[in-house]
Each structure stands twice: as structure tokens, then as C-alpha cells.
Symmetry: C2
Subunit: 111 residues, 2 copies
């Protein structure tokens, strides 16, 4: 369910925004409240909540509310899925290059 294109779409779309990547960056150093996430960002709290919603919809971040403070954390499984997509494509390309190299080496021997 993490590899379906729709979820992948949401994840890359979520990562496309610099503010959201900054939030992920912050969360990679530990859980944080919404206001803590907002603090370094030059925008309203409201905007931050909207970004947070995007991140949660993508599965990259989860949160729970205790009292009046919502604590957010990174969801490493989702991060891994995005990572995996890129890795697969890069590896496919590099394997292809290797085969091509072998082929060229062989035909050179035969010349």
C-alpha cells in the first residue's frame, strides 16, 4: 500500500515544497509541536497547519493531540518508500550501463 502510485504522488508532492521539507528536517531531529515547527518559518501558524495536513495526507508525518498541543513525528516507512522509488530507477540505469560496458569490452576482445 506504500508503493501505489497515488501515495507516491502525494509523497513527492509533499516533499516538493521547501517549507515542508524544512518541517521534515526538523522532525528528523525529534518530535515537535505545531508551534515548534512554525517557529523558524516566516509564515502564519495557519499556513503551517495547512502544510502539516499535506504532510500527514502523504503519510510522511503523523501526529497526535494531547491536551491542547499536537505532537508530530516523522514516519520513516513512508520516507523509505520515496527513497526506494528513486533508488530503483537509478539502479536500473546503472545496471544497464554495466551491461553496456560488458558488451563493449567483449566486442573489443573480438576485434
Amino acid at each position: 500500500m506504500l508503493h501505489d502510485p497515488a501515495q507516491l504522488d502525494l509523497m513527492f508532492q509533499a516533499l516538493a515544497d521547501p517549507a515542508r521539507r524544512q518541517m521534515v528536517e526538523r522532525l528528523s531531529r525529534g518530535p515537535a509541536s505545531v508551534s515548534q515547527l512554525a517557529e523558524p518559518l516566516a509564515m502564519s501558524l495557519s499556513a503551517v497547519v495547512q502544510h502539516l495536513n499535506v504532510l500527514e495526507a502523504s503519510g510522511l508525518v503523523s501526529s497526535e493531540k494531547l491536551g491542547r498541543v499536537r505532537t508530530c513525528r516523522i514516519e520513516p516507512k513512508a520516507l523509505r518508500a520515496a527513497e526506494h522509488w528513486i533508488n530503483e530507477r537509478r539502479l536500473a540505469w546503472e545496471r544497464r550501463l554495466d551491461r553496456l560496458g560488458d558488451f563493449l569490452a567483449e566486442t573489443k576482445d573480438e576485434s
Copy 2:
């Protein structure tokens, strides 16, 4: 120069679109012309060229024109940079979890 936030921004933004990811996917299986990239996509050639421009601006894809056909290929270095950004964040989180685990194990011993 591959890790500066502006370039990272362009890369994730480029990967955010499903059509562009499909193009990257196709290119991971080998170089292709613009029309070959366009063939499986339900949109005009012109639209594909515009997507291609985004991909090239992000550094994920490069191309060269020979005669009247432009041949495109994937740029694995850029892919690796995006991969690396995600990986760093995920690892930071996981290392943190490990330390937390150690801490909990220790304090348990002391109880």
C-alpha cells in the same frame, strides 16, 4: 552544488508530477527521443517538451540533439542527490530512536 536547496527544490518539484516520473521511469530503461517519451502519455508533444524542460532544469535528465531528434538520458548523480536527502533524514530519525532505546534499556536496569 548538487546539495544546494535550490537544486533540491527543483528536483523534488520535478518528481512531484506523475507524467514526469513516468518519463524518468522510461529513461531508467535507456535513452529515448522526445516522441518516444511522449508515446505512452495522453498529452500533446508540446506538453511533453515542457515537462522535459522541467526535468532538465532540475538536472535529473540531460539531452542532446542530433539531426532532428533529441535524445534524452537520465542523470544518475542528480537522482542520487534526492535519494541522499531523504536517506539522511530517515537515518537521523532512526539513530535517534536507537539512542532512545539504549537509554530506556539502561534506566530499566537501574530500576
